[in-house]
């Protein structure tokens, strides 16, 4: 639990530092004020950096306090579910254009439903996957004129 509590502010500090360093690398403008494009990013990244440091100290003060959200997140089942969905999403991205919209969506939806809803409800899972894959395909490609692979 502790590392997430510290990790989040540290991540924010890193993001603001990245933007701050990046801001100084912005080339000078040839039009108008040469530093015009970098004022806004510099100001904001400094502000974000300061706030993130304050946030870090706030978290350090309450490091031992119980946080229900983190506990729920760190639950093995939850992590597995989120990880599974992400991996499935990556596979979906890779097969979407290759095997076409209908088949890839049917697989994506079907596998996710079976994982989440359980094998016992196989009938609902199959009916929902097929009908919703078809409805979205029909709605987008036929009614809205979106060209789908």
């Amino acid at each position: 639990m502790k590392w997430i509590k510290i990790g989040m502010p540290v991540l924010m500090i890193l993001i603001s530092l990245t933007f701050l360093i990046g801001s100084f690398a912005i080339p000078k403008a040839t039009l108008g004020n040469p530093n015009g494009p970098s004022y806004f990013p510099i100001g904001l990244s400094v502000l974000m950096l300061v706030l993130s440091i304050v946030y870090l100290f706030n978290e350090l003060k309450t490091l031992k306090a119980f946080h229900e959200g983190i506990k729920d997140l760190m639950d093995k089942k939850t992590l597995r579910l989120i990880g599974f969905t992400i991996i499935l999403g990556v596979i979906y991205a890779n097969i979407f254009e290759r095997v076409g919209f209908f088949v890839s969506t049917l697989l994506f939806l079907g596998v996710l439903l079976f994982y989440l809803n359980g094998m016992k409800k196989w009938l609902i899972n199959i009916v929902v996957s097929i009908s919703f894959s078809f409805i979205t395909w029909y709605g987008f490609s036929q009614l809205l004129g979106v060209s789908l692979p």
């Binding site: 997430i4 989040m8 993001i15 603001s16 933007f19 990046g22 912005i26 080339p27 403008a29 039009l31 108008g32 004020n33 015009g36 494009p37 970098s38 806004f40 990013p41 904001l44 990244s45 502000l47 974000m48 706030l51 993130s52 304050v54 946030y55 959200g69 983190i70 729920d72 997140l73 639950d75 089942k77 939850t78 579910l81 989120i82 992400i86 999403g89 990556v90 979906y92 991205a93 890779n94 979407f96 254009e97 919209f101 969506t105 994506f108 939806l109 996710l112 439903l113 989440l116 809803n117 609902i124 899972n125 929902v128 919703f132 979205t136 709605g139 809205l144 004129g145 979106v146 060209s147």
Partner: protein
């Protein structure tokens, strides 16, 4: 009057009537389902609006928004679980009413209260929008910049107890909005020589990522914890209220509508705050304050009227100034920009048909919704039992397809997942999401206005103090920053008394 009739004709076109009914129904459903709100619904449906006429698109999105205000209280009353933030106040007295066997009456009074709130607010819209648009014509770049600053600081400081995190989210949103080619000088910023990044980060992907994927991931945290015992026999009783109940609710409803409307118009505040203020106001002026929280019918009616009125009011700054005051209206702005519509004072000059079409659609939509929410109560209760485990995969699927229609590229699927995880982490760590999204959408405009103001004054910051409008906006911004402190002092004093 001419505009009104023209708008009425637009709104009753069959296709628009279809969008009103569909939007209202969908809004009711997502409003009802715990964990999903109007912002998620609009975000998921953004791709559907692409092929649409902009007027139909705004009619649909608005219907989802106020539909969610009707729906939110269904689950507050029946399950003691608010569908979204604006429905929290409805649990205070709505659920106790249901426990007393008055669920049907609670459903009916809340639908009627929402209806009256919505209609009164639509009249408010007619009277306030045009003058506000005319007033906004006086705004120069400096005033616009300050107005955006005020909106952002208000939305952060109203997320009480999360101010630091809110400002971090805001800074992050603003920084992300600077990625890409600077429109004033053509200089590449933070693009890492990647052509995909030179067009900037597509805010619609961020919106769909945090509001659809992030929300579903967040709901995964509790998906296996749901109590099974909630499947009580839904003994609704009669779905209408008694004369006595109406007598008690009448004035609270009528008082809360203008209150909610004004709160909705204010930057940063929305339905959640409107309903809370109206609840506590009614409790304070009630002759029977002890009955509040134990099933007082006016304690349910008042916030329901207020939150629906607020959702109508929130449309005003969006359309007259192009500045959204809440998460949902920010998402709506994103969709409108995609459709090539730039909301702002000129919209009233250039496209009055759109505004009047929207106004009329809100009258019709509220009538449709009160009917749906009273007559179809049985169906809605069934929908409420839809297993979340079936619903969430569908939302994720729609989010992916919506993203695909934005750029016809599956590369964005990865971005979508990344922002989904960012949204999840922010929710877990109690970061408010709205400041991030709002900042990302108004960020580019905010910076351009800031720099244009400085160019016009030859670099002198005095431009930000030069008009009375600027000064007022600055004072309000400072006040909004100290608002949490002021509230704390006020509450301490009150408890000391």
């Amino acid at each position: 009057m001419e505009g009104f009739m023209e708008g009425l004709l637009t709104a009753i076109e069959p296709i628009n009537l279809f969008w009103i009914v569909l939007g209202g129904f969908l809004g009711t459903v997502v409003g009802m389902l715990p964990g999903l709100g109007p912002a998620t619904a609009v975000a998921v449906l953004i791709p559907v609006t692409f092929g649409m006429d902009p007027t139909s698109a705004i009619i649909l999105m608005a219907a989802i928004y106020y539909g969610a205000m009707y729906g939110g209280s269904r689950s507050s009353i029946l399950l003691n679980t608010p569908g979204d933030g604006s429905a929290i106040a409805a649990t205070f007295d709505g659920y106790p009413m249901a426990q007393k066997g008055q669920a049907g009456q609670a459903m009916a009074i809340s639908a009627v209260a929402s209806f009256i709130g919505g209609i009164i607010a639509t009249f408010g819209f007619i009277f306030l929008a045009q003058p506000l648009a005319n007033f906004a014509l006086k705004f120069g770049p400096a005033e616009y910049f300050l107005l955006m600053l005020l909106t952002l600081s208000a939305i952060v400081s109203l997320s009480i107890g999360k101010m630091i995190k809110g400002f971090i989210a805001m800074c992050l949103g603003l920084l992300l909005s600077t990625v890409g080619i600077d429109p004033q000088t053509g200089i590449h910023r933070f693009t890492l020589d990647n052509p995909h990044l030179s067009e900037g980060i597509d805010f619609l992907i961020v919106i769909i990522g945090v509001y659809a994927i992030g929300e579903v991931f967040y709901n995964f945290l509790t998906i296996n914890k749901e109590k099974k015992s909630q499947d009580k026999k839904s003994n609704m009783g009669k779905v209408w209220f008694s004369k006595e109940q109406w007598k008690r609710s009448k004035w609270p409803i009528l008082r809360s509508a203008p209150l909610g409307f004004i709160v909705g118009v204010l930057p940063g505040a929305g339905g959640s705050i409107a309903s809370m203020i109206s609840y506590s106001t009614e409790k304070q002026i009630s002759k029977k304050p002890d009955e509040f929280g134990k099933g007082a019918v006016e304690g349910l009616a008042a916030p329901e009227s207020a939150n629906n009125a607020a959702s109508v009011g929130a449309m005003i700054p969006l359309l007259t100034m192009g500045i959204p005051g809440s998460g949902t209206t920010a998402v709506m702005l994103g969709a409108l920009i995609m459709l090539g519509v730039r909301p702002g004072p000129m919209l009233f000059e250039n496209d009055p048909g759109m505004i009047w079409g929207l106004i009329n659609s809100m009258f019709i939509g509220n009538i449709v919704l009160v009917i749906i929410n009273i007559l179809l109560v049985g169906l809605l209760v069934k929908v409420l039992k839809t297993p979340a485990k079936v619903l969430y995969p569908l939302i994720i699927m729609l989010a992916f397809i919506g993203t695909y229609t934005l750029s016809y590229s599956t590369v964005d699927f990865y971005l979508l997942l990344i922002f989904g995880v960012i949204g999840l982490l922010m929710k877990v760590m109690d970061f408010p999401i709205a400041p991030l999204v709002l900042a990302l959408i108004v960020g580019a405009d905010m910076e351009q206005n800031f720099r244009m103001a400085l160019v016009s004054s030859n670099g002198s910051v005095s431009i930000f103090f030069s008009s009375w409008i600027s000064v007022v906006l600055l004072i309000l911004t400072v006040l909004s920053l100290f608002y949490p402190l002021i509230m704390k002092l006020f509450l301490n004093k009150k408890s000391a008394n």
